[in-house]
Symmetry: C2
């Protein structure tokens, strides 16, 4: 039996969107391929709220995160972390001998503009990474406030991980001044995993031009130069299947209306939070809750594994806590094309299983 | 109109295989995902003729090529090239500050065991890269003879690019002593692009353990350690759609019989070569012709672009020459699930267009 996914990626994909993954192949060096990539670029610009260049990478979001920190750190990177995926930026920097310092808060908390200001004011850093939405803890960082601080430091390239939020929460890339905003298909955008997408600002391009040892496959500057020269075609064969499906899904997103989509996510999030507070507690600081997933503190000491097993028998899947938070928390994702009705149905099933 | 692809990747994918790309999503941290990856491993071992570990990478073949040369060169890499994709290994080494020397032959020729012996006998190298099948020139290197030479140098890790041959030509990884044999889904295996696959020998593992600065997303050792620890699951969300389709396609390949599959490729290759010699000339050294594609010298000075345009109107696509060989050559791929009958149909259409 298929389990309807309420996990923070891969998400449930609508059947007509899945069907586009089965589109027959075309040559990746054809006009048709160029047109496909240009259509995606135009539509992704609306999702990112940007006029900057869009890069596609046949990799997970991690591939682009590594490419960004490696391609654009000339001096030193300040890595801000609110959980597992923030820490991953730091591991990536270390694995590439990119100078970096890690600023990690206690899990469940957000990054404050004050700390960002304090760190950047040292003048030691020329790149900063922030996780917009942290799937391990359910924190959504206050990027509007952080943006105001970062703008005080024009030499700093800002990399923002919106892997689990873009398409589900409003992030206005150009207005915020984000230089490299990274996302991935398998979260709030609502596609299968296998393709990552980012913006690439002029400041980021200029920085990358000064950085040596950027690698090859994940070198953002190399990708950018190639698509400019080759009418939006890519140096290696891209995942055309994902591109067919993305092209189609972006039309669906525009049809729903991007603002309506954000609103739907807010409503689902509110409903799950109310439910969680009624029966458990929220794990994350209530001022900075994610709109795309909720991490719930297991205050009743239930067996999350057992709950998920029973949910599985009813055709649903949620997520246990991430890493060290396993069984101490559990996570319900409410993103992509999931509706409030589906969320209600899931919670009703949990209620029945747990006897609420 | 859909054009039937006779280009060296992406190849024509059978509709039932394409349909598997539309399989509904599952969690990538589930038992189901582990089982899927283990089934693929078992079957890919038969395709590679190996008992070593199999690694999947959500990237193009280039991603794994970079990962291999970066993860496993401790001293210096000897990069042998017979065309564009051989040269790419060298660019990758340079882009990562990996010490490497390039040994490139004039395009259309093969790498000889004699040159490999001469180069390795200097004792300067601890890694060698060879392109098994070069899609820019149509050369298939004599890897059996080269293997005999490489065996004389037990400290050398052998990386072999079989991106455009694996599944269509016999390459016995363990018997040859290849340490990292790399392929990709969109060529002779017969799937859409978006997933790369390689073998990873104990010697390669031991070498990678001595290499620092291996990066993150493409670090083969990191992938390997993770799948051992996590029951064949991957550190980042993999392209599950490709894995569903690969699992299915490998059953189809086993059903055809791997030896029958090689034989079918040989027969298609022979037919195209005969046709090419009748009307044009072969570009590559006739002793080392590829079984999966044929590069034809444009001795009649036809407009290849025009031929392809007219073929397109009839529902077929072939490839122009690669890079500097554009219009000077053209390429017909005969790989994956293409049949001899389909090859004959294509050539008959070319005959009609060119008035042969």
């Amino acid at each position: 039996m298929h389990k309807k996914l309420f996990i923070p990626g891969p998400v449930e994909v609508k059947s007509d969107v899945l069907q586009k993954m089965a589109t027959p192949m075309i040559g990746h060096r054809t006009k048709e391929a160029s047109e496909l990539q240009k259509r995606i670029t135009e539509k992704m610009r609306k999702v990112f709220h940007t006029n900057e260049e869009i890069l596609l990478s046949t990799s997970s979001g991690s591939g682009l995160m590594e490419g960004a920190i490696r391609s654009c750190t000339a001096k030193k990177a300040a890595v801000f972390s609110v959980g597992a995926f923030g820490n991953r930026w730091y591991e990536m920097a270390k694995a590439n001998n990119v100078p970096a310092d890690l600023y990690e808060v206690e899990w469940g908390n957000a990054n404050t503009p004050e700390l960002v200001d304090e760190v950047l004011s040292t003048g030691k850093y020329d790149l900063i990474t922030i996780t917009h939405n942290e799937t391990s803890t359910g924190i959504m960082n206050p990027v509007e406030e952080i943006a105001k601080v970062i703008k005080k430091y024009p030499e700093v390239v800002w990399c923002l991980d919106t892997v689990s939020s873009m398409g589900g929460a409003k992030v206005e890339v150009d207005k915020l001044g984000v230089d490299i905003c990274i996302t991935s298909t398998q979260k709030a955008i609502g596609l299968p995993p296998g393709l990552a997408i980012c913006t690439f600002s002029k400041k980021a391009i200029e920085r990358a031009e000064k950085v040596e040892n950027r690698g090859f496959y994940l070198d953002l500057l190399r990708l950018h130069k190639y698509i400019l020269k080759k009418d939006h075609q890519y140096p290696s064969t891209p995942s055309l299947s994902h591109m067919f499906a993305l092209d189609y899904q972006l039309d669906r997103i525009m049809e729903e209306g991007i603002e309506n989509r954000y609103q739907r996510h807010i409503e689902m999030a509110k409903y799950v939070r109310e439910w969680a507070k009624k029966h458990f507690e929220l794990f994350a600081d209530e001022r900075y809750l994610s709109n795309t997933l909720t991490t719930i503190k297991n205050t009743k000491g239930i067996s999350v594994a057992d709950l998920n097993k029973k949910l599985g028998e009813r055709g649903f899947a949620i997520s246990n806590g991430y890493g060290k938070l396993k069984e101490k928390t559990f996570r319900i994702a409410h993103m992509a094309d999931t509706t409030l009705e589906e969320v209600k149905e899931l919670l009703q099933n949990i209620d029945e299983i747990l006897g609420f």
